[in-house]
C-alpha cells in the first residue's frame, strides 16, 4: 500500500510538473492566435500587450484563463473593425448601386455582417467554454488524486 502511495505521488508530481511547464506555452499560443485574428495594424501591439497582461495574473491557471479571455476579446474587437472597413464607400467609377438604393444596400450588408459575426462569436465562445471546462476538470482531477494520495499515505503512517 505504501509503495502504491509513493508511485501515485510520483506520477502526480510528474503530471503537475508537465502541466506547469506546458500551460505557459499553451497560453502564449492562444494569445498569438487571438492576435492573429485582429487587423494587421493591431496584431503586434495586442500580442505584446496581452503577453504582458497574462504575466500579471496570479497562479498557474490564472494566466491560462486570462489568455482564453483574450481570445474572446479578439472576437469582440474584430467585427467592429471589419464593419468599419466594409462600410467605406465604393471607389469612384465603381459604384454599381443606384443612389436611391444605397441606404438599403448598406442596411442589408450590415444585417448580413451582424448575423455572421454573431454566429462566429457564438462558436468561439463555445470553444473557449469547452477549453476552460477541460482545464478546470483536469485541475480538479489532479487535486482530487493528490488528496486521495495524501489520504492513503496519511492512513498508512504510524
Amino acid at each position: 500500500m505504501d509503495l502504491a502511495g509513493v508511485i501515485l505521488g510520483l506520477v502526480l508530481a510528474i503530471i503537475w510538473a508537465e502541466a506547469s511547464a506546458w500551460l505557459p506555452a499553451l497560453t502564449r499560443r492562444i494569445i498569438r492566435l487571438a492576435a492573429k485574428r485582429l487587423e494587421p495594424d493591431l496584431r503586434e501591439r495586442m500580442e505584446e500587450e496581452w503577453l504582458r497582461y497574462v504575466q500579471d495574473m496570479p497562479g498557474i491557471l490564472g494566466p491560462f484563463f486570462a489568455g482564453c479571455k483574450c481570445l474572446l476579446a479578439s472576437v469582440r474587437i474584430r467585427p467592429i473593425r471589419i464593419a468599419a472597413r466594409r462600410l467605406q464607400p465604393a471607389p469612384k467609377g465603381r459604384g454599381l448601386i443606384p443612389p436611391s438604393q444605397i441606404n438599403q444596400f448598406y442596411l442589408e450588408r450590415l444585417k448580413e455582417l451582424f448575423h455572421r459575426s454573431a454566429n462566429e462569436q457564438k462558436r468561439l465562445m463555445w470553444i473557449s467554454a469547452i477549453a476552460m471546462g477541460a482545464a478546470f476538470s483536469a485541475a480538479l482531477y489532479v487535486a482530487g488524486i493528490k488528496a486521495l494520495a495524501s489520504l492513503i499515505s496519511g492512513g498508512n503512517s504510524p
Binding site: 505584446e48 500587450e49 496581452w50 504582458r52 497582461y53 500579471d56 469582440r76 474587437i77 468599419a84
Partner: protein, 100 residues
C-alpha cells in the same frame, strides 16, 4: 478619431479607473474594475479609436527588460469631457462616479 462609443456602465468604470490612476496598464484596470480581458480590451480599443483615451508603451526595450512591455492608458481631454457629460446619466447606477 472614430465614431462615438456607447457610454455603458463598463465604459464608465474603465474611465473612472483611469481617472483615479492615470497611466494604468490593462492588468491594473482589471484589478480596479473587475472587468476581465474579454470585456476590457474591446472597450479600450473603442475608446482609443474615438480619441477618449491615449496609450503609450512603457519606456525600455523588451529584450533589456526581459519581459513584454506594458501599454499605459490615460484619459484624453476629450475623454474627460465626455465622461463628465455622460456620468450624470449613469451616476444613479454607479455610486463610484463622483466627477459631477
Amino acid at each position: 478619431m472614430g465614431t462615438e462609443p456607447r457610454f455603458t456602465i463598463q465604459t464608465a468604470l474603465v474611465l473612472d479607473a483611469l481617472m483615479q490612476s492615470p497611466g494604468a496598464c490593462g492588468s491594473e484596470i482589471t484589478r480596479s474594475t473587475g472587468l476581465s480581458s474579454g470585456s476590457l480590451y474591446p472597450i479600450l480599443i473603442r475608446l482609443e479609436k474615438a480619441g477618449w483615451l491615449e496609450s503609450a508603451w512603457e519606456e525600455g526595450d523588451p529584450a533589456e527588460l526581459g519581459r513584454p512591455r506594458r501599454r499605459n492608458y490615460t484619459v484624453s481631454a476629450l475623454g474627460e469631457r465626455k465622461a463628465r457629460q455622460n456620468s450624470k446619466a449613469l451616476s444613479p447606477a454607479i455610486g463610484r462616479l463622483a466627477w459631477t
